[in-house]
Symmetry: C2
Amino acid sequence: MRALRFDGSLKLVDDAPIPRREGEALVEVICAGICNTDLEIVRGYAGFRGVLGHEFVGRVIESPDAKQIGCRVVGEINAGCGVCRLCRAGDARHCPARTVLGIKDRDGAFADFLSLPAHNLLEVPDTLSDEEAVFAEPLAAALNILDQVEIAPTARVAVIGDGKLAQLIIRVMAQSGCALTVIGKHAEKLALAEAVGAHCLCLQNTSDERAIEDWLRRANLLLAFDVVIEISGSPTGLPMALQLVRPRGIVVLKSTHHGQTGLSLTAVVVNEVTIVGSRCGRLATALDWLANQTIDVRPFITEKLAIEDAIEAFAKATRPDSLKVLLRVSPSS
Amino acid sequence: MRALRFDGSLKLVDDAPIPRREGEALVEVICAGICNTDLEIVRGYAGFRGVLGHEFVGRVIESPDAKQIGCRVVGEINAGCGVCRLCRAGDARHCPARTVLGIKDRDGAFADFLSLPAHNLLEVPDTLSDEEAVFAEPLAAALNILDQVEIAPTARVAVIGDGKLAQLIIRVMAQSGCALTVIGKHAEKLALAEAVGAHCLCLQNTSDERAIEDWLRRANLLLAFDVVIEISGSPTGLPMALQLVRPRGIVVLKSTHHGQTGLSLTAVVVNEVTIVGSRCGRLATALDWLANQTIDVRPFITEKLAIEDAIEAFAKATRPDSLKVLLRVSPSS
């Protein structure tokens, strides 16, 4: 089958073996999305080798659960061992022996076929297009914040970042009715946030912490927010979040990136800030939001390319003006 | 009056002006305690210049609240502006314009007299000795954890650190009935934790992260704790806490130190850890615990010296085998 592999470099192959795993379902991929995590893996994050990709919609070809066969599905990307304490408590997402589609010890979705446990798959409502359904996984990651942190309608919330996942988080936050500020570096991406009522600030492209602090002070943003969501993907994001959040406020940390962050932790202690790490979320809720049209993800699709053009698609996904780049793998029906 | 000043170096003076502040109470200091924050200030933390000291018991000499005069008191060390949004909401501790006794823009307790707002002072029950009462401030800081994080009796809790504040935290945690593990570097200090039922591990004196991780793995401690309290005072403490805490667990950050921590934040996001910064606490609760003998602080007193010997007392407080060093300033009655 065709597959986009990363083995120190990106390579499109057409002779990858079909990934049948015992007791699991086999899914023919229809469409897949390129995520920042994919780009970070190519930069060395997570040490993954294999077929990339974890945002997908596909059709079930084989399954131990016969009634799944033929269904159009999205999938929970974490597959736990099933026997450890966490798995038995229903938290396979954090199983220490888990595999993760296209991220950890399991080939991913940028391929004709993928394998996942049958219970990881959720049927997609017919009303949703493939292009919308492929957003279920990142939208679940955005919605996960609501499972972790209470966002009151009176809350002052800042989002640092204006990229793919940031845009979904901004729409989720806008739904809560909170007073929303977005700090980004790309005017045309910030315009999408402004369209849902966010107050947007375009930050100069600098990593000079002093210059950033001066800028935040002049904009009256220091210690001004109840909740700050850090999804910039930059090592300067968390230090900035700690300058923005009020005493006893909450910083939600969404960015993962390769390497270390140099950080003065004094502000965390002195201001008694809470930092909440946040990763994946519940696909069922995300499908509900998409099916109910609570959120419209179509403005975030930059381009759709065929899997044959996956290398070019990756190059496009890394451009500063890019949002979601989709890979069309097979026709929907 | 006599005072121990820090102006880039420690100096004992006998001609410091008596610190009368308009509308505040004047307190004659009886006894004061040396805290790690004092030692950190001498190393450059917080940029403070002036009279050090914030743990004290004293007697009110002058006060706008006449019934306070003559009372033996301890004091809330943060004094807010009284008019900002945080102060009006009752959180003067986080007022951005606050002064802090012996830490920020306010002369401290290593002196014959100190000044604090009358409403910052709490009367000490007669049953408490001066030496016990002086622990009210650090004990409040330890108890603050219970206001921030729920510690279930079934919780697996680790404390990283075996110093002065760590010992108080260990006793507070031991009261909760949780399964308590303490990781420290000083056998004789760990023995105090063992005395209240903690499982203690003496870490080799190394800052090599790989060696520490191997050691934790062999001891079966990786991802093993619901709550990890980091009070080591060392930049290696938080990285270790992130190795110990289970997915979706809580790290309480108590250490403040000068300088930056190099940190990989990936574990925070991937394991969805919550980091809670924790500073001061409520003195009234601490006085209750001391008066009810819920906690016995006397084992933690390493030595009592007269204020004339304050420089020597500081030297003693920095020794690895030292716990609380007290300064006797004036007789109790």
